[in-house]
Structures are given as structure tokens and as C-alpha cells.
Symmetry: C2
Subunit: 194 residues, 2 copies
DNA sequence: TAAAATGTCGAATGAAGTGGTCGAAAATTT
DNA sequence: AAATTTTCGACCACTTCATTCGACATTTTA
């Protein structure tokens, strides 16, 4: 695939992102995407194997984008506490940014039968646990946290985040989001900080 | 149709509003509406003649809502100048509120062939001209405006509003909207106020 | 520059989805 | 309990959709 074609594929991916975000998987037609991308319907099949393949590519791009953002945010923070906070806040911000597509992957039940969606979800969750895990370990090494089982703690934190997900997804201002996060971690830290 | 059934019809209308707003006419299926309203697909046809009939009912409800709001706003204003301003600002606010459906009626070309959409549009435009007309006449009677041909003036104002419609529709804050309106009328008033 | 490789799309097709009908069952009223 | 209103499953004709195929266009290679 030449450079020029690669770019066209990128365009298709980009418009597919927007259209999937707006209409979801089932209501988006290949022709919708082709029209918006300014290519023939059949040409789509030169770039992608099929409709699901486009959707998968879109999701993967979004996941990558979010994880990139999270990684950067964590790196900027100094203390493990800060890192944890940054992680949560950035995660929620990004989720809201790309919410419409993620909704389809993380919420819509009728998509559950798609194996690859489950896989993406599982992988993604695992990576989040890993991130939390590493932050906790760092905190322990620095003598800031005292935790018997970091893996368990990570899992609990993940649960907490997931529990608050809906509330955060619908919160109007991001100030509320940060307040909530502060509250959550205030409680958490008082339990685990030495 | 009993009272109870009437209420159910209202529910169907309400969810249809939301779904049409989200997906537009063609991407919304009767089953989408039925599912969301919690009734069988066939039952929809007990309440409404067909799909277009639901859409028409939704649009009419929206139009009614907007005009009600505008009427109230105008009544609250004292001077003709104030009334004109109120008219425009309220109109734009409401349009944004119900924007997603109105888009389909006022912008989407592929709907143009629907005679009833054209009719609604025409009626609506005429009613707006009538409102402006009556405000102008009031202003003339009170010796505030000096206009040779109020009908023509109404038409010109309508054109101005329509011209700015897109800009207003996409404006982020409603403050901008009011500033724009003020500017528009400042120019207009200096031309017609005695 | 001719042949090979890469890229593009119109037309066709079968499968799935959709608007709408009908009649029978369920619920409600009389 | 008969009459009426309301609900909906099953069905059909038609449309839409994802995907394929082959032919044409464009670019690369030799």
C-alpha cells in the first residue's frame, strides 16, 4: 500500500470514527462512510476487510489515544498519590471525549456477542489494572503506601472507578469530576497511607 | 381512544422525538420507537397511521413548543424594540434546544420531497413574518418606527435572521448570540427609529 | 514503454432488515 | 357476557445493506 493510499485509509478511518460515534455500528452503513470519505463504496473493501474490521480499527485507535494520554499524564505527576489521581481524572476526561464510540463498546449489550469487543475490553481493563498496580508498587517502595496485596488493591480501585463511571460520564462540568476524585482518594489514602 | 391510551400515545411521541433527534428519519425504525416505548411494533400503527405520520406529529409538537415560548417571551417585553429582540433571541434559543430534529426539517435536502415538510416550513415561516409584522405595526402606531412598507421590512428582517441562523446554531455560548442580536438591531433601529 | 502491480469503483447478489397488514387474543367497557 | 377497544405475533412485499467480482485506471517496475 503506497503512502498516498495509506493516507486515504487514514481519512476513511477518521470519518468512520465520526460516523460510528454518531450512529453506532449497526446504523452506520458502508456507504455512509464511503460518501463522507469521498470514495466509492467498493473501495472501502480495498482498505478494510469488512465492516467489523473498520469498527475494530476505530476502537483500537481510540484505545491507543486514551492510553497515550494517560501515560503522559502519569509521567508528569510526581508522587504516587498524584499519579493515581491523574490516572483517574485523565481516564475519565478521555472517556468523555471519545464517549460516543466507547459507549458502544463498553455499554451496549447487543454488541456483547462480538468476541473482539470482549477481547478489547478485557485487554483494556487488564492494562488499567496494570497501571494502577505499578503506581501502587512504586508507592510501596517509596514507603508511602502500606498494602499487603497490591493486586487486590488495584482491583478494588478499578471497581471503585467503574462504579463511579456512569456518574462521571454524565457530570456536566469537569470540576465536579475532580471533586469526586479527590473525595474518593481522600478516603482511599487515609486507609493506606502510612 | 381512552385517556390511558392517549397517554401511551404521548409516550410513543416523546420517545419518537428523542430517537428521531438522534438518528434522523431514515435511520430510525418503527421497531426502535416501539422498543423504546415498551410496546409492540404493530401497536405503533394503532396510534399512528405510518412512519411519516409519527414524524409529522413530532415536528408539529416541536413547532408548537417553540411558538408557545416565543409568544410568552414577546408578551413579557414592553417596547417594540424589546419585542423584536426577544423574538429573535428566543427563537434562536429554542431552535438550538430542539435543533437536532429541526435540522432534518430545515436543512436536510433529501427530505425536501416530502410535501408536508415543505408545508410545515412554509407555514412556520409565514407565522414568523406575521409576528414580526405585528410588532412593527405596533411600533408604527406608537410612533416609534417609521416604515413605509412593514411587510417588506418583516421580510427583510426574516432574511437577516435566516442569514445568521447557521452562525447562531453553532455559537457555543448564548452570550455571543445576544451580542450578535444586539448588533443586528442596533443597525436596524438606527435606520428605522424616528 | 510494455508489462506487472496497485488502486478504484459500478454493477450485481443474496441475506437481512423494514414498513406495513391482518386477524386473533387480551383487556376493558358496556 | 357481549361489544368494544387495545395489543401484538406472524407474515409479506419491498428495500437496504454488506460484500464480491470483474473491468478499468493509475502507478511502478524492468
Amino acid at each position: 500500500m503506497s503512502n498516498k493510499t495509506e493516507i486515504k485509509k487514514e481519512i476513511v478511518l477518521k470519518v468512520a470514527q465520526d460516523i460510528f460515534a454518531k450512529y453506532g455500528l449497526s446504523k452506520t452503513t458502508i456507504e455512509d462512510i464511503a460518501k463522507a470519505a469521498g470514495v466509492g463504496k467498493s473501495s472501502i473493501y480495498y482498505y478494510f476487510k469488512n465492516k467489523d474490521d473498520i469498527f475494530r480499527a476505530v476502537i483500537e485507535a481510540q484505545v491507543k489515544y486514551v492510553q497515550e494520554k494517560i501515560r503522559n499524564a502519569i509521567n508528569e505527576a510526581q508522587t504516587p498519590q498524584e499519579k493515581l489521581k491523574k490516572f483517574v481524572v485523565t481516564r475519565m476526561r478521555c472517556f468523555r471525549e471519545v464517549a460516543h464510540i466507547f459507549e458502544h463498546v463498553f455499554k451496549n449489550e447487543y454488541l456483547q456477542h462480538y468476541a473482539y469487543v470482549q477481547k478489547i475490553r478485557k485487554d483494556y481493563d487488564q492494562q488499567e489494572v496494570d497501571i494502577i498496580n505499578s503506581i501502587l508498587k512504586e508507592g510501596i517502595e517509596q514507603g508511602i503506601f502500606k498494602i499487603q496485596d497490591p493486586n487486590l488493591a488495584s482491583f478494588v480501585i478499578m471497581l471503585g472507578i467503574k462504579g463511579l463511571e456512569y456518574e462521571w460520564a454524565t457530570a456536566e462540568d469537569s470540576q465536579k469530576l475532580e471533586q469526586d476524585t479527590d473525595k474518593l482518594f481522600e478516603i482511599l489514602f487515609y486507609g493506606i497511607v502510612k
